[in-house]
């Protein structure tokens, strides 16, 4: 197992820049997820780490060795593809043993290793079956088996759960994480599904348009989004934005939004007057008739324990997550109270988060890195 260090990695296809100056470190034994919408460059980054694409610039270090320009087979990594890439002309046993065959391992040893791996993944009863007859979850396990049988330096996975049914998916998310806890292999996992990312990752990098927008733990990314893109991409429903104008002074603890005074975490930098946005998660909104921030109820989505309420305000819709017991009817006017300690402030132009007591310096530096 090894640490993966990506430095100023860049990839251009002609005029199109797929990945721009990426920097991140996946520590030894960490489960790292690259998250982003399709076309954001996450798969290209993964393929560069694997050696399936060569970077236009930058460096990739694997366990301290520069592997940037090495061939895929010289890197000692394993890759799990979205479509699994199980060889249809081989049975399960041969599929799992295929990487070991390349190393010229004696067949008796291949046999033991394959059987150990199959047992670990609970597919030992399928070893002599053809891969074409397998169910989605089992094909996924075989693909994983082919990856772990070799005990490589790291695992790279490209949306491995993308083609599975929702039901299987939840099961596999659980299994993958459990497997990771057992073998502690450095893993880079690419997905566009935030639930997968949040539930499995030790660290997440959120990518958009070839740029890493934020790099951090799931909690940091959810609670302290570094950009408006991250705030909008993570969370269902996503973070709400309320526009406000004017600058901010260092030390400010209050802003004015739609005529209402809202307490915010202490601002830690001076911001020149510009269009700003107040970011607020749906679960941090409460209904309170005393509040000056007001809106009319537009509709509700009942979710069992909670409900999502869309409120029409002077500055567009806001979605609030409130307990399901509260009885509301469309057209009611309500006041909104925001949990001050959890608010984020953004500069609208750059989309960047303003440094505040909760957006501390430490996370800020990480953002600049990313």
């Amino acid at each position: 197992m090894a640490e993966i260090r990506v430095q100023n990695l860049r990839k251009a296809f002609g005029d199109f820049v797929a990945v721009q100056d990426s920097n991140f470190v996946v520590e030894d034994g960490e489960f790292f997820v690259m998250l982003g919408p399709s076309g954001c460059g996450k798969t290209t980054t993964l393929r560069m780490i694997a050696g399936l694409e060569l970077p236009t610039g930058g460096q990739i270090l694997l366990g301290g060795d520069d592997v940037t320009m090495l061939r895929a087979r010289e890197r000692d990594i394993a890759f799990v593809f979205q479509l699994f890439a199980l060889y249809p002309h081989m049975n399960v046993r041969k599929n799992i043993g295929f990487p070991l065959l390349a190393q010229g391992m004696p067949s008796a040893e291949i046999r033991t290793r394959v059987e150990e791996t199959a047992k670990l993944l609970r597919i030992d009863h399928l070893l002599n079956k053809s891969v074409s007859g397998l169910a989605g979850g089992d094909r996924q396990r075989v693909a994983l088996g082919r990856a772990i049988v070799r005990r490589p330096k790291c695992f790279l996975m490209d949306e491995p759960l993308g083609t599975l049914d929702t039901e299987f998916r939840d099961l596999m998310v659980h299994e993958l994480r459990e497997l990771h806890n057992r073998i502690r292999a450095t893993t880079v996992y690419v997905t566009h599904d935030q639930m997968e990312a949040m539930s499995m990752a030790d660290k997440i990098a959120v990518m958009n348009h070839g740029v890493i927008e934020q790099f951090g733990t799931p909690r940091e990314i959810y609670d302290r989004p570094a950009t408006m893109f991250v705030a909008d991409f993570i969370g269902s429903p996503p973070m709400n934005f309320l526009g406000f104008g004017g600058g901010l002074a260092k030390g400010a603890r209050e802003i004015v939004v739609q005529g209402a005074r809202v307490a915010v975490p202490e601002v830690r930098e001076d911001i020149a007057p510009a269009d700003m946005a107040l970011g607020i998660r749906p679960e941090h909104i409460r209904f309170d008739d005393a509040s000056k921030l007001r809106g009319a109820i537009y509709g509700t989505e009942y979710l069992g324990t909670t409900q999502i309420v869309a409120v029409e305000t002077a500055d567009g819709f806001i979605k609030a997550r409130v307990p399901a017991e509260i009885r509301l009817s469309t057209g009611d006017h309500v006041g909104l109270t925001l949990s001050s300690a959890r608010l984020s402030l953004f500069e609208k132009g750059s989309g960047r988060a303003v440094r505040t007591a909760i957006h501390d310096v430490a996370s800020e530096r990480r953002v600049q890195h990313g």
Binding site: A50, G51, L52, R71, A72, R73, R75, I77, A78, F79, F81, Q82, L83, A85, Y87, P88, H89, F98, P99, A102, Q103, R146, R150
Partner: protein, 316 residues
């Protein structure tokens, strides 16, 4: 239509089934009757083969096959009687026609030539076609579209249109009447078909298979050999049949460029007629034997052939 009759969207109606059946039977008769006629003629005696009205029922004889494999000379009855008793069936049949066997005919060597040239050129065309198709499918080839169009354009006119230049060229190069020359020629004609057909098949094989193998420690060539090739077998088989059928049946170039040692069966078979009158049973016997290899090859690979014809129409 009564309400109790279920109307099916997918099952054909009884009427359309009958019409389809009639068309298929008519087509089958048109295609198969000439073959059956040739097969039957090969077992007739020469007088039966030219009898009028044609004989449907006849006493089968192997005389045609005897005549196909031998050359014979006419002798006086006295000479034939002076010989010892006939040793083989063919000996006996020939003597009844006042002839004796002079030696083996050229049919067998010509047939062997056909086998060498057709299978040799098929192998070359499929081998080159597979590699080029893989290259076009997987690598960024400069001007790939133009090159592919150029490859296709070699099929825009019938190959025989360039017969004269090829004849002159082959004479200069000493390739006339050689198996190598014919293999090169048929390969050149077939390789464009092979590239296009195989590119379609290889495009359908996800590149993740080779990528997975390359990450797992194999070189590209090993990955191609172990993961792409096994999955392309249907395509390769279908392509091989098409190439083989062309090379096996080709007549015009064979007639023009081969006359002796490298002559193939198609230009040889008609020359049988000239030997000792109109020997239709021998011609039919030659044709029947000529059909066997292609028939066997096609039957062995018929599943692949069917898939080859319909490829791309349905996803596996």
């Amino acid at each position: 239509m009564s309400l109790t009759t279920a109307h099916s969207v997918v099952a054909p109606s009884a009427n359309s089934k009958r019409i389809a059946g009639a068309i298929i039977i008519a087509y089958a008769l048109i295609s198969i009757v000439p073959l059956l006629w040739i097969f039957a003629t090969s077992f007739k005696t020469p007088p039966d083969s030219i009898a009028y009205p044609p004989k449907i029922l006849f006493q089968p004889s192997l005389e045609g096959y005897c005549n196909l494999f031998t050359t014979r000379t006419r002798q006086t009855p006295e000479y034939i009687n002076s010989l010892g008793p006939a040793t083989t069936f063919c000996d006996e049949t020939t003597r009844k026609r006042n002839m004796v066997i002079a030696g083996p005919s050229n049919f067998l060597p010509r047939f062997v030539n056909s086998l060498i040239i057709a299978f040799g050129s098929t192998f070359c065309a499929v081998f080159l076609g597979t590699l080029s198709a893989y290259g076009f499918s997987r690598f960024k080839v400069p001007l790939a579209d133009d090159l592919l169009f150029f490859i296709l354009s070699t099929r825009f006119m019938p190959p025989i249109a360039v017969a004269i230049p090829i004849y002159l060229m082959y004479r200069e190069l000493g390739l006339s009447d050689t198996a190598l020359g014919m293999i090169l020629l048929y390969t050149a004609v077939n390789v464009s078909l092979a590239v296009w057909l195989l590119k379609g098949f290889i495009d359908e094989i996800p590149r993740e298979y080779e990528e997975a193998a390359m990450i797992d420690g194999y070189t590209r060539l090993q990955a191609f050999w172990r993961t792409v090739l096994p999955q392309a077998t249907t395509g390769i088989a279908a392509t091989a049949i098409f190439c083989l059928i062309f090379a096996w049946n080709e007549y015009a170039f064979a007639a023009l460029l081969t006359s002796g040692t490298a002559q193939t069966a198609p230009p040889f078979i008609p020359t049988i007629i000239g030997e000792g009158g109109q020997d239709w049973p021998a011609v039919a016997a030659g044709t029947t034997i000529f059909l066997v290899p292609i028939l066997v090859f096609t039957i062995l690979l018929r599943k692949q052939l069917l898939r080859g014809i319909t490829f791309g129409a349905v996803r596996k």
